[in-house]
C-alpha cells in the first residue's frame, strides 16, 4: 500500500528545559537548541516501513512510503534522514516555521493527499514542541477519512487494518477501511505492534526504530526530493491561532531530603498534612 508520512522537525525534546522565552515574552527562542525529527513522527515512519514489508530476509518491499514536511530549506536534512531510514520519496513544502498553524498544515497536507492519493496517512499523534495533538484529526476531517488516533498496534489483512488505540482506562479496537489516517502513540514501535498482511504473526521486530546503515545514507542523497511552495497548495495562508505571549512555568521550590521512612511519614502527616 502507498503510505504518506507527514513529519516535522522540533527543538530537541530532551533539552526542552533549555527553551528560552525571548525578550518581552513575545516569542520562543529555540536558537540554542538542536533540531530533531519529532519522535512520534520517527515512530510513524517505522510503522509505515513495517506495514510495507513482509518480515522475510531479505525483506520485500510491498509499497511506496512518501515523507512530506513543511519548512525552510534546512528541513531537507530531516527529509534526507527519513529517506536513509527507508522512505522512497520526499516532498518539502517551502515556508517558514512562523507562517504555520495546525489548520494551515492540515490544509496543505490535504492538497498533497489529493495529488499523491496514498492508501494510508500515518503520522505522529503530536509534535512535542507545540504539543497540540491536532493535525491528524483535522486532516482526517478535511478529507472525510476514517481515523484511528493514539495507535498502539496496527495489523493489516485482506479486509483493511485493525488498530488498537490507547484510551483512558484501556484499549479501544477499531477496524479501518482504506483510505484512512492513523496517528501513532509510543508503543507502536514495540516488537509485535505492526504487521503487514504478508508478515507472519510470529515475526518479531527489534524494539524501537531502525537506524540507517551508511550505504543507505549515501543512497538517500540520490532519492527524489521535490519542493513545492505553500502558496501553490493553499491560497489563503491566514493563521487562525495567534500566539501573542509566552510565560515560563511557575518555579517549584527546591525540596528537602528526609532521613528515613519514619521522617517521611511524620513530615507528610504534620507538615504537608496530606495523610
Amino acid at each position: 500500500m502507498k503510505i504518506l508520512v507527514p513529519i516535522k522537525r522540533v527543538a530537541d525534546p530532551d533539552n526542552a528545559n533549555k527553551v528560552r522565552i525571548g525578550s518581552g515574552g513575545q516569542k520562543i527562542d529555540t536558537g540554542n537548541l538542536e533540531w530533531k525529527l519529532n519522535p512520534f513522527d520517527e515512530y510513524a515512519l517505522e510503522a509505515a516501513l513495517r506495514l510495507n514489508e513482509d518480515g522475510k530476509a531479505p525483506k520485500t518491499r510491498l509499497g511506496e512510503v512518501v515523507v512530506v514536511t513543511l519548512g525552510p530549506k534546512e528541513v531537507e536534512t530531516n527529509l534526507r534522514s527519513a529517506l536513509a531510514t527507508g522512505a522512497d520519496r520526499a516532498l518539502r513544502i517551502e515556508t517558514s516555521d512562523e507562517q504555520l498553524d495546525g489548520h494551515l498544515v492540515a490544509l496543505a497536507l490535504k492538497k498533497v493527499v489529493e495529488e499523491e492519493k496514498p492508501d494510508l496517512i500515518l503520522m505522529g499523534k503530536q509534535a512535542v514542541d507545540g504539543d497540540s495533538n491536532q493535525v491528524g484529526q483535522i486532516l482526517a476531517e478535511l478529507l472525510d477519512y476514517p481515523m484511528a488516533t493514539f495507535a498502539a498496534t496496527i495489523k493489516a489483512d485482506a479486509r483493511g487494518l485493525e488498530v488498537s488505540r490507547e484510551v483512558d482506562g484501556g484499549v479501544a479496537v477499531v477496524r479501518l477501511g482504506l483510505p484512512a489516517l492513523i496517528t501513532v502513540d509510543l508503543r507502536i514501535v514495540a516488537p509485535t505492534s505492526v504487521y503487514s498482511a504478508q508478515t507472519d504473526r510470529s515475526f518479531k521486530y527489534n524494539e524501537g526504530v531502525r537506524f540507517a546503515p551508511l550505504p543507505a545514507i549515501m543512497a538517500a542523497k540520490r532519492k527524489k526530493l521535490d519542493v513545492k511552495a505553500l502558496g501553490d497548495l493553499v491560497s489563503d495562508g491566514k493563521l487562525r491561532t495567534r500566539y501573542t505571549e509566552f510565560a515560563p512555568p511557575p518555579e517549584r521550590k527546591a525540596g528537602k531530603k528526609v532521613s528515613s521512612v519514619a521522617d517521611l511519614v511524620s513530615k507528610l502527616a504534620n507538615e504537608a498534612k496530606v495523610i
Binding site: 527553551v19 504539543d131 476531517e141 531530603k257
Partner: protein, 326 residues
C-alpha cells in the same frame, strides 16, 4: 458575550467526572465575557438518563442526542452531531481526555473553527478570550487568540477543578442525530477493553503513586500495597510502560496523562523532563530513589534516598500502623 457549548463525556451510561472540568471552564468564560452555557450529551441508550445528572449545574439547556448509532464512540459519528449542535454557539468546550483530544479537532475542522488544545487557563485580553496552553513539555506556556467566528477549546482536567452543582433545573431538549460523512462507512468499532478497577482514575485521584523502570517485573507487587494504603491511583514512567512492566495508559508525562493530585509519590523514577511535565503541578511530591543525583529530587518536596524494595514496604507498614492508631 459568548454562547458556550460544553460537550459531555459518558462512560458506561454515566457522565465522566472529566465533564465537570469542562463545565468549570465554561463558567469561567461566562464570567469573563458574559453569555450562557449549555451542555451537549450524546451517546447510545441511557444518554438521556445521564443528561439528568447535569441539570443542576446552571446550564441554560441540556441538549441530548440519544441514538443507537452513538452506542460506541467513534469521532466519525460523534463529530457531525457536535458540529450540528454547535451552530448556535460561539465556543465549544470539552475536557482534553483521550475522548476530547480525539473528537475536538475533527469538530473544529467541521466548523472551520480554530482549536486550542489542552488549555490550562483562559483569560480575557481587551475583551477577547486568550487561551493559556502548556508547550515544550510544560517548559513554556503560550497565550493564544483563536481568530475565527467559532472557537473550539480542550480543557486540561488537572488545571480546572471539577464544577460543583449550583442548583436549578436545566431543561433537557432532544437533539436529532446528524448524518455522518463517508468516513463513518470505513470505520467499525471492534471492542473496548477497560480495566475494571476499584481505584480512582489517574486523572482524578487525590493521591497518585507512580513507579519507574527500576521496579522491573515487581512493579505491581511493590506499588499496589502502597497505592492501597494511600487510596491512590497508579501511574508509571514512560520507561516502565515501554518495558511492559505497566500498561500504556498508566503513563504519566508530556505524552501520557497529566496529573496534579494533592500527593504524588514517585517510586524509582529518575525524573526525565517528559515525566516531570506530567506531574509537576502536584501539590506535594515525594520521591524515593536510590540515586541521590536523580533529577526528580530537584522538584520533590520530600526526597528519600533509599532502596525502594526496602523503603516502600517499610512505608506501607508505617502508614498501616498510623491508620490503626487513629
Amino acid at each position: 458575550m459568548s454562547e458556550i457549548l460544553v460537550v459531555a463525556e459518558l462512560a458506561e451510561g454515566a457522565v465522566r467526572k472529566a465533564t465537570h472540568s469542562a463545565i468549570q471552564c465554561a463558567r469561567r468564560i461566562q464570567q469573563l465575557v458574559g453569555g450562557s452555557f449549555s451542555i451537549l450529551v450524546l451517546g447510545g441508550a441511557g444518554a438521556k438518563a445521564a443528561a439528568g445528572e447535569l441539570t443542576s449545574f446552571g446550564a441554560a439547556r441540556i441538549l441530548c442526542c440519544e441514538d443507537a448509532n452513538l452506542e460506541h464512540y467513534l469521532a466519525e459519528r460523534y463529530a457531525p452531531v457536535v458540529a450540528a449542535a454547535a451552530q448556535k454557539f460561539d465556543v465549544i468546550v470539552a475536557t482534553a481526555s483521550s475522548y476530547g483530544k480525539d473528537l475536538l479537532p475533527r469538530v473544529a475542522a467541521r466548523l472551520d473553527a480554530a482549536y486550542a488544545s489542552d488549555c490550562s487557563d483562559v483569560i480575557s485580553k481587551g475583551g477577547q478570550l486568550s487561551y493559556k496552553r502548556p508547550m515544550f513539555a510544560g517548559n513554556a506556556y503560550g497565550f493564544c487568540f483563536l481568530d475565527t467566528p467559532k472557537q473550539v477549546v480542550g480543557v486540561r482536567q488537572s488545571e480546572f477543578e471539577a464544577a460543583q452543582p449550583s442548583g436549578g433545573a436545566s431543561p433537557i431538549e432532544d437533539l436529532p442525530l446528524a448524518a455522518p460523512g463517508a468516513a463513518a462507512q470505513r470505520i467499525e468499532f471492534v471492542s473496548l477493553d477497560q480495566v475494571k478497577s476499584e481505584r480512582p482514575e489517574l486523572a482524578e485521584a487525590r493521591v497518585v503513586v507512580s513507579g519507574g523502570r527500576a521496579l522491573k517485573d515487581q512493579f505491581f507487587q511493590v506499588i499496589e500495597p502502597l497505592a492501597n494504603s494511600l487510596g491512590a491511583a497508579i501511574g508509571a514512567s514512560r520507561a516502565a510502560c515501554d518495558a511492559g512492566y505497566a500498561p500504556g495508559d498508566f503513563q504519566v508525562g508530556q505524552t501520557g496523562k497529566v496529573v496534579a493530585p494533592e500527593l504524588y509519590v514517585a517510586i524509582g523514577i529518575s525524573g526525565a523532563i517528559q515525566h516531570i511535565a506530567g506531574m509537576k503541578s502536584s501539590k506535594t511530591i515525594v520521591a524515593i530513589n536510590k540515586d541521590p543525583e536523580a533529577p526528580i529530587f530537584q522538584i520533590a518536596d520530600y526526597g528519600l534516598v533509599a532502596d525502594l524494595f526496602q523503603a516502600v514496604p517499610e512505608l506501607v507498614s508505617a502508614l498501616e500502623a498510623r491508620k490503626k492508631k487513629s
